[in-house]
Each structure stands twice: as C-alpha cells, then as structure tokens.
C-alpha cells in the first residue's frame, strides 16, 4: 500500500527539503538496520552500510515510482547492497570458527543438533548459539545467505523474498533450499570434526 506521507516526503526531498529526507530515513532506518544486521552480521561497519543504503536511495529517488510503496523499494536496495558487500569483502566475516571458545565448539554444536528448551535458555547462551549460527551463515554464498535470512529469519513470504532479491519466486525457493542444505553440510562437517577430535 502506498503511504501518502512517504510520497509527500519524497516529493519534498526532490524539491530540496533536507528535513523531509531525514524524516524519510527516520521512518525506515530501523527496518534497514535490521536487514543489514541479519544479512551482514553484527559489525561496526553496519552504521556505514545503513548510511550507504540511504545515500543510494537518495541518488535514485528521482526514478522512484510514487505509486509504489517505499518500504519494499528501500529494502530491495538494502538487500542488493548487502549481497554486494558480501561478494566484495569475502573477508567480512563476523565470526570465525577458530575464534569460538572450546566451550562453544564442543557444547553448543552438540546442543544445536537436538531439540532445545529455549524458555530455560539464558540470554548469554542464546548469544553463543547465535555466534555458531553466524559462523555457519558466513560460509554461505551471498545470494543463498540473503534468501535464507529473508525467508527464515525475517519470515517473509517467497513472493516477497523474490521481489527483494529481484528474482523469480522459483529462484528464491531454490536459493533458500540450497542455503538449508549448505548449512546442514557445514554443521555436519564441524560436528564430525569435533567428534574426531574427541576420539583422539
């Protein structure tokens, strides 16, 4: 649905009103920040990423169709930017397997392979699980990773995932499915490595 307030802010921005653009950013910065964080991971560079996304949006604002909602448009720019960053900076890994503590490596990986009682799991342990999850996500192809985050973490419908990725629904489904398979493979590889270590 088109938000008339968004349209008015965009028109004012195009007429040179800086305040209007700041207001537009204020409306969507949390959503952009969330997607950046989920796809790129928690990093000090996320602030720059959010700024860059809005600067790109500003540059392309004249091409924006005012009859379309602004939210999906800015999130599409965000997703593209994140995939671009992941491709360019293969080194931008938020967490490395070797950086995890012995405890994380041994206990958490085993825990994650069985049903967990999340209600009794404390925040600190949950954060440790998230670190393992980040290690696994970091090894994924950027396109699969973005598709996985949009579908599984942000719980978006496949047609929405497809729009944000600028691809067909079938391609979006394939990417999510491959991401799941890849994650399982990596998880198994770490787990069997751990088991080999234990046997020695």
């Amino acid at each position: 649905m088109v938000d008339s307030a968004d349209s008015a802010l965009i028109e004012s921005t195009l007429n040179g009103d800086e305040w209007a653009f700041a207001e537009l950013v204020r409306r969507y910065q949390a959503a952009v920040w969330g997607t950046v964080h989920r796809i790129l991971g928690n990093s000090a560079e996320n602030e720059d990423a959010v700024q860059e996304v809005f600067l790109r949006a500003y540059t392309a604002l004249r091409k924006f169709n005012l009859e379309m909602p602004f939210g999906p448009w800015i999130l599409r720019i965000t997703t593209n930017y994140c995939i671009d960053q992941l491709r360019r900076k293969k080194g931008r890994r938020t967490q490395l397997w070797s950086e995890l503590s012995e405890y994380d490596q041994q206990r958490l990986l085993k825990d994650l392979s069985q049903d967990l009682d999340w209600e009794s799991t404390g925040m600190e342990v949950t954060e440790s699980y998230a670190r393992v999850a980040r290690v696994l996500l970091d090894g994924l192809n950027p396109k699969y990773r973005a598709a996985f985050v949009l579908r599984e973490i942000e719980e978006r419908a496949y047609n929405e995932v497809a729009k944000l990725l600028g691809t067909s629904e079938v391609a979006a489904r394939v990417r999510v499915s491959r991401a799941r398979v890849e994650l399982q493979k990596k998880f198994r590889a770490y787990l069997s490595g751990l088991q080999r270590k234990e046997r020695k």
Partner: protein, 151 residues
C-alpha cells in the same frame, strides 16, 4: 520422491495433509532429517533472538546526502552507478559507431568514386567515340562539343 525430499515443503508449511503425516512419521525414524530440522530451528531461533539496536542517524544521513548531491564528482558517479554495464554498453556502441563511420566512409567513397568514373565513361562513351573518330581533328571537334555541352 523420497520422503526426505519433502523437507522444504514441510518446513515451509506447504505440504498437504497426507504429505505432512507421511513426513512426520518419517521424522520419527530418520535421524538425519530430525537433526537437520532441529539444527535449523535452533539457528533460526538464536538469530531471531539477537538484539538489534538501530542508531538514529537520520539527520546525519540527510545532511550527507544533500552535501554529496552538490558536489560535481558525485553527480558523475551517480550517473554511472545505476548501470555500469549500461554505461559500458553505450560507450562500446559509440566506439563501434565511430569506427564504422571512419572505415565505412572510406569504403563508400572508394566505391562511389569508381561508380562516378564508370558513369562518366558511359555518358561520354569515350571508348566507342575514340574508335569511331577517323583523325585527331575529329577528336578535337568532339572534345570541343563535349566541352560546350557540359558548360
């Protein structure tokens, strides 16, 4: 189709009732599928639970956007950025067109020059007239005639 292959359909909540029953029965027996399911559930849960603290940078971003918009280098970059491939294509087309015009012109001019000479020879019918001319005097008369008619 193997029951394991129903994984995505089941996970996405798109399996029919029959498929769901079949897969749930399978999950109880297949450890690989069970582990896969638990692992994904746990990863997703842990990532969703991550706390995200967005900072309010709206004013700074807007200031930066307007500052950059007034710098000439940004104008150039913003023109190039939306479609580097498109820009490259346009440049390639321009280059190709200029090359074609240079080489094409030469071909056209060489050919047209030849055509003109042939046409002139046909018009003047020089070969035939020279053979028909009995003496130098006749040739001179004919050339004078041609000279006055072309004037």
């Amino acid at each position: 189709m193997r029951t394991c292959d129903l994984f995505d359909k089941y996970r996405d909540g798109e399996a029919s009732v029959a498929e769901r029953n079949e897969y749930e029965g399978h999950l109880a027996a297949c450890e690989a599928c069970r582990t896969r399911f638990s692992m994904l559930d746990n990863l997703v849960h842990a990532l969703r639970a991550e706390e995200i603290r967005p900072l309010d940078r709206a004013d700074r971003i807007a200031r930066e956007a307007f500052r950059r918009a007034h710098s000439w280098d940004y104008e150039v970059i913003s023109w190039l950025r939306p479609g580097p491939a498109m820009t490259a294509l346009v440049l390639a087309l321009v280059l190709f067109a200029s090359l074609w015009m240079v080489t094409g012109d030469q071909q056209v001019s060489a050919y047209s020059e030849y055509e003109t000479l042939m046409n002139e020879a046909d018009t003047l019918n020089i070969g035939t007239r020279l053979q028909q001319a009995g003496s130098d005097n006749e040739i001179m008369v004919w050339l004078e005639e041609e000279g006055t008619s072309s004037d």
